[in-house]
Symmetry: C2
Subunit: 551 residues, 2 copies
């Protein structure tokens, strides 16, 4: 395998571990706290998780651990979208297992959770692991989005675990995958099996976090990669002085990524979906907010700027949410009829006749390409694929229209040349930052200690992340502790609560305190490319979000 110079150099990087994990392995002793409760709905959850609810929080202390050197066999699964550092979770888990007992084995299930259901796996060796240390991507075993939910899938998973003599399964994933891990842990125990299940908090979206999970891995690297690009574009905007760049950023429903990039780069405008929802902002109000910056900057002869747009925005605009729901319902109820209309114009007319007056009015004001996307791009269930809607272009179209009105009214006298960007795939598989490389390795190593300690239904937790790695605090949190009951597809389900941006949290409040200035002045900040070597203030800083949340 011929590799790049950076990849070769990164192989040599030794990720840092929390102090307690870097000493002698047989001196990492388990300390259990009091029985933990879920964040809400404890009766319902205690009932659903009869065998795994109410477990204590686990932490590690210096002491004697007799169990840690047993030979173990574990399996690991990568679940859902890529996030930088996944390979290091596996490396940390592998190194921990081997440090505990060189006869221990780690299997990798291929292509996500379906690898466990269908018993498709490989056994890791030093050679395989060494090829992936400190690299981005999930290509070591691939990932997948299969959910283990049918009785057959649960049974098949247990079958595989037995056949492979597994002591434990580690599931690396986001909120959904960790909910799935909790269900699997409960199922295994209920079936009298001793196979343990441990989760690991992964997602660039940053929406899997709470008191015990300070950050999901990958968020740091992805946000820094996007910030590099946004900073470069800002510097280009300030040099060329003639373009308004509208930049949509990945991150699903949550705006954590977008907010972090705003804190890093200080754009002129940054939309935050959670604020749009709370304040019930209409598309018109959002467009007015952007135009206000454009108009005031034009008055200072600054006909350039940068606008950040979170991927999930339009789902949070009440009127758009209503329109999308109506479109979904119409498509479901009249699919035969609609499928016969092949012409876009006729589709628009048909929708116009069937939508509510409010939705129809909104639909007709959308740029034609966006209207087409709303009608054309449907998922296998016939629903509009919101993530495929080019919100950045939608906003450009609506802003252009609004500026024309303002110009006619004599309230705007600038030039508006917009450019659209979308960043997502550029950051999900970057070489993990030193922070993510260390954090992921620690999460994997911690997962090993949780397994060796005989725990199940826990998520690997490493806290105190704004301190240096040796001061990080590893441990385990019962997955059910992070859960509540939510309505999903018409019924009440146990789920790990998604962490959206909190408007009274420090990251948002810091941004809100600065944005008025940023919207008129040019306050750009250029973070540059992620550095793996060099001064620690450049290479080893956590995200601003994390620092603010802990200040």
């Amino acid at each position: 395998m011929e590799i790049s110079a950076l990849q070769k150099a990164r192989y040599q990087y030794q990720p840092k571990l929390p102090g307690i994990l870097s000493g002698k392995i047989e001196e990492i002793a388990l300390s259990l706290g009091e029985a933990a409760k879920s964040i809400a709905d404890d009766t319902a959850l205690a009932d659903l998780f009869k065998h795994t609810y109410g477990k204590p929080i686990a932490s590690f202390v210096k002491g004697k651990n007799n169990k840690i050197s047993r030979p173990l066999t574990a399996g690991v699964i990568l679940s859902g979208g890529q996030a930088p550092g996944g390979h290091n979770v596996i490396a940390g888990l592998y190194d921990g297992l081997k440090k505990g007992n060189s006869a221990s084995k780690l299997l990798g299930f291929l292509g996500g959770p379906s690898g466990l259901v269908e018993d498709k796996c490989l056994e890791f060796t030093d050679a395989i692991i060494d090829d992936y240390r400190n690299t981005g991507g999930f290509d070591i075993i691939g990932s997948g989005r299969t959910k283990i939910e049918t009785p057959e899938q649960f049974a098949a998973s247990l079958e595989t675990a037995k056949k492979r003599n597994l002591d434990a399964v580690v599931i690396i994933g986001g909120d959904d995958s960790n909910t799935n891990a909790a269900l699997l842990a409960e199922y295994f125990t209920a079936q009298g099996s001793s196979v343990q299940v441990i989760g690991c908090p992964k997602t660039i979206d940053g929406d899997l976090k709470n008191e015990y999970i300070e950050a999901s891995f990958g968020f740091d690297t992805a946000a820094k990669t996007y910030s590099e690009l946004i900073g470069n574009i800002e510097r280009d905007a300030a040099s060329a002085r003639k373009y308004w760049h509208f930049i949509k950023l990945m991150g699903r429903s949550a705006s954590h990524i977008t907010l972090e990039c705003a804190l890093q780069c200080r754009p002129n405008v940054c939309l935050v979906s959670e604020e749009v929802e709370t304040k019930k902002l209409s598309m018109d109000q959002i467009v007015e907010q952007i135009c206000s910056s454009i108009v005031r900057r034009a008055a200072n002869k600054n006909n350039f700027g940068v606008v950040l747009v979170p991927e999930g925005l339009i789902e949070f605009v009440p009127e758009m949410k209503k329109l999308i729901k109506e479109l979904n319902d119409l498509m479901a109820d009249h699919s035969d009829e609609i499928s016969k209309i092949t012409n876009f114009i006729d589709q628009v007319y048909w929708m116009d006749r069937h939508l509510s007056i409010e939705s129809s009015t909104l639909f007709k004001t959308l740029p034609p390409e966006i209207a087409r996307q709303l009608l054309a791009d449907r998922d296998p269930h016939g629903n509009v694929q919101v993530s495929r809607i080019e919100t950045e272009r939608l906003l450009i179209g609506m802003v252009e229209k609004k500026l024309k009105e303002l110009k006619n009214a004599g309230d705007y006298n600038g030039k508006f040349s917009p450019l659209a960007h979308f960043f997502g795939y550029e950051g999900r598989c970057a070489f993990p930052s030193n922070f993510d490389a260390d954090y992921c390795y620690s999460l994997g190593f911690t997962a090993f200690v949780l397994i060796a300690s005989g725990l199940t239904g826990y998520i690997s937790s490493v806290r105190n992340l704004t301190a240096s790695a040796d001061k990080w605090i590893p441990g385990g949190i019962p997955l059910t502790m992070m859960m509540n009951m939510e309505r999903r597809h018409g019924s009440s389900k146990p789920v790990i609560k998604k962490a959206l941006v909190e408007l009274d949290g420090k990251p948002f409040k810091t941004f809100a305190g600065e944005r008025e200035k940023w919207s008129v002045e040019t306050c750009y900040h250029f973070p540059g490319a992620i550095q793996y070597y060099g001064p620690p203030e450049v290479c080893d800083q956590p995200t601003k979000t994390l620092v603010l949340e802990h200040s």
Copy 2:
């Protein structure tokens, strides 16, 4: 000014200089070679450049230079699109001037060549320069695309130069701007003025190069930034295993950027405009080439891949060139009539009736959004804005159609989920790589020595760039030496010859020797983010293009 940690750290970076320039300033002596000839059309050029043609190549040797310590006043202009390192050219020039004599002054003309014409400038101080060392962007004085071409503009430029007591003007720009520098040098001399003009080779496109200019600055950083992103996307593609990414890359007519990125990242398909033109490939043939990779990869269950597309591609496809020319002519000849047709469908019908049969057939096979772009996005002269055409989406549309045919014929049985990207603004203002930081600083310092040596009509040249910086060879090349006569807007003009990708050059031949393998197998290479600190094999490598051209 609050700045990022990397920017702060980069301020401390001391760019490396060629050995001859890093010693005592009064020991840098000028050595002149034989009178140089232009690459072609020497009679015509000698006639056009009566006062500046036939000058000798200049090099520097250790000796005695009595003129170098005179107090000098120079002006500098940033011309055209941004390229990483522009600020370092200015810093090198400033430091050189001050090292020669602390009373020397450097003025920066604002907003490009128009700053000279309109006498808009600032005087650089240590404080200003220090704020911009080793940073990206052209925001220190801004850039512009004004060409100095009318007699009034030439006269005004001389007026400003006299008023400001300039000894010299340094123009930092691409082939056009350096052609302009040659004309200005000739004009000043012809007018009996002693004001000198020196050019500097800038452009991320990499198309200003020849025997004496081994690379234009900015190419290194821009290509490495795009390669970082392409590598990340490749790793994502190989992990998710479900998307084909079509990535268009900036670079104007030349495919140097795209070719360098292919050599860095080994994508499945990389189109090269110069090959398309030489082999007279049709859109159909290009689409077939892409589909061939898709079909063969699908047979191995690899329904993912990466395709690189140079920005200028469609201008090199003979049939597209013809269509664009016909559209431009129709728009020019019937502008009134066309402007009355506001409806896209009716515009298409009208064009269909007026285009030649070949062009009309092609036009109708284009995806509607592309047809709309061809009709809607015109420059101030009414011409189609080729750079605005989303070639990556055009190709996706045509590939989808072709794959449907192949599927119906039973020749393809894969899944095709395409995603489109365009990278350009992300790389033009990145922090310059160590290579560009050193190269630009050396170019600026060299420009100072050329000025101090009394030369005019020269371009700053630093050669032997694949060696370590201390072995680089600085000097000056008469601008007219790189020129020939070309037809522009119907008349014969003196221009610096644009360097396109040479199909018998080593970079292309190396790519051509590998691409068959890359198109079927997954040979991705992940360069990662530009590193400024760390091992030299990671931080201080020139581009593969440069290394291959010098091997």
